[in-house]
């Protein structure tokens, strides 16, 4: 993977975006801009709408009001964007076969696939587990395989939905290291988490969400040391936002 000047998908602009399902407002008039650079961490309590925001920014769902554009285009194809879901689903095949499937779906020429499989497995630390049935991997290993599958698309933007939510500390560390590595290669990471510590460790920018609305967005330093809103201050202090 090489450093790429991000041109087609970024910036991602959400203008007055709402998402309403059966009279329940999940996202309420969101205005956001995801630009190239350090990871953006979307943080907030459970039920804030983080997952829905990520899916919408990925292009999996359409806003019910407002609009989303990618690099200025309203209908950008998603082949340079990738997402890792909170509980990734492994295909009923081996680890390597899962990766090969993702590469084929990303139209990588068959001659290159074997090489890419080896590279990606090495990158995520699963090089020895290529032949193991993917569903038999541990939680952390599955998370890393899902990351590898996402990277198979050679994305400019990578959405991660609570990537370490169910992992033990050692696994959390390896995933976070991977995220740093990915960022270093020039990929924009947009990550949702409810873990304050993780946000502190990884964020370049922070977006605080609560009940479907953006409470505050700022760079990490400002957010953690000098937040503008009282809710943000309370959240950073460790209080429950109800």
């Amino acid at each position: 993977m090489s450093m790429r000047p991000p041109v087609t998908n970024l910036p991602i602009l959400l203008e007055d975006v709402s998402f309403v399902v059966r009279d329940v407002t999940i996202l309420d008039r969101i205005a956001l801009r995801f630009a190239a650079g350090a990871p953006t961490v979307v943080i907030g309590p459970n039920g804030a709408g983080k997952t829905t925001l990520l899916r919408l920014a990925m292009g999996l769902i359409q806003p019910t009001a407002g609009r989303a554009t990618w690099g200025g285009r309203a209908d950008a194809s998603s082949d340079r964007r990738a997402i890792v879901f909170q509980r990734p689903v492994m295909l009923r095949r081996s680890t390597a076969a899962n990766l090969r499937y993702a590469l084929e779906a990303a139209d990588v020429p068959s001659a290159e696939r074997d090489t890419r499989v080896r590279e990606l497995l090495a990158l995520v630390g699963l090089a020895d587990l290529g032949d193991r049935p993917a569903r038999k991997l541990s939680g952390g290993e599955q998370q890393r395989l899902a990351l590898a599958r996402a990277l198979a698309k050679d994305p400019q933007v990578l959405f991660l939905d609570e990537p370490t939510a169910s992992l033990d500390p050692a696994a959390i560390k390896s995933v976070e290291d991977l995220i740093r590595d990915i960022t270093a290669r020039g990929i924009k990471v947009v990550m949702a988490t409810h873990n304050l510590g993780e946000a502190r460790r990884l964020a370049g920018d922070v977006v605080l969400m609560h009940r479907g609305r953006i409470v505050e967005t700022s760079d990490a330093t400002t957010f953690f040391n000098n937040p503008r809103t009282s809710e943000a201050a309370r959240f950073v202090a460790g209080e429950l936002l109800v």
């Binding site: 990925m58 999996l60 689903v89 492994m90 009923r92 049935p133 698309k153």
Partner: protein
């Protein structure tokens, strides 16, 4: 078959007429499973993935068709294939082809309905990931059919079990002709009605053994495959 030999001895000694009966039963039912799979698997997959008005109603209809009585299917196919019927010019009434057609009609709903259930469950699991990987509809169907292949094998097995066990359809459209359209089930019906119970029982045991062997083989394949692929 010679009268003065114990029927059970015939079964055990591998009498050629008996062998022909077993062979025909397998050819008819296995062909029906193949054809029903070719129709039923894509149909089940399509229904699993589609969302249109009234779709749920069609799912109920398909499930209900699993209970088609074999003898009714036999009668319908008989009326279709009779020389006095719409497809009479095909001239295949009272032949093994008619039996294959009748059994295919009988078991396609079973395979389609069970496939739909399996594939729909798998689709719910896989849908987000496949969408995120930009896999199109055709690619998704192929992936679901492949990844679900062991459960689908169970569906095929259920279809085969139904076909191999039924007598109502094949006896009407086949005519139970000695040496031509006589299967294990029709032979059992005939020998019972002739009062030759030992032979009927012998044939019944052969049928049970065959069905159990095929079931065991499929179960074994499934276990082996699951261990391989998780």
């Amino acid at each position: 078959m010679p009268e003065n030999v114990s029927a059970l001895q015939l079964v055990l000694a591998g009498d050629p007429a008996l062998f022909a009966i077993v062979r025909l039963s397998l050819i008819v039912s296995l062909s029906a499973v193949l054809l029903a799979a070719l129709i039923g698997l894509p149909l089940g997959a399509w229904l699993a993935l589609s969302r249109f008005r009234g779709r749920d109603g069609w799912v109920v209809v398909l499930n209900a068709l699993m209970g088609l009585p074999p003898v009714v299917v036999g009668l319908m196919v008989y009326l279709l294939l009779s020389r006095s019927g719409p497809l009479g010019s095909w001239g295949i009434l009272f032949t093994p082809q008619a039996m294959i057609i009748a059994q295919t009609i009988l078991i396609t709903p079973i395979i389609a309905a069970l496939a739909r259930q399996t594939i729909e469950d798998l689709w719910l699991e896989y849908r987000d990931e496949l969408k995120a990987m930009n896999v199109g509809t055709l690619g998704s169907v192929a992936t679901l059919l492949w990844d679900g292949r062991f459960s689908l094998l169970t569906a095929l097995l259920a279809g085969f079990g139904r076909a191999a066990a039924e007598v109502g359809a094949v006896i009407i459209v086949g005519g139970n002709i000695d040496g031509f359209t006589r299967t294990m089930t029709t032979a059992i019906a005939l020998e019972t009605s002739k009062g030759d119970l030992p032979l009927a029982i012998g044939l019944g045991m052969v049928l049970i053994v065959i069905v159990m062997v095929i079931n065991a083989a499929a179960w074994g394949t499934r276990r082996f495959g699951e261990r391989m692929a998780g």
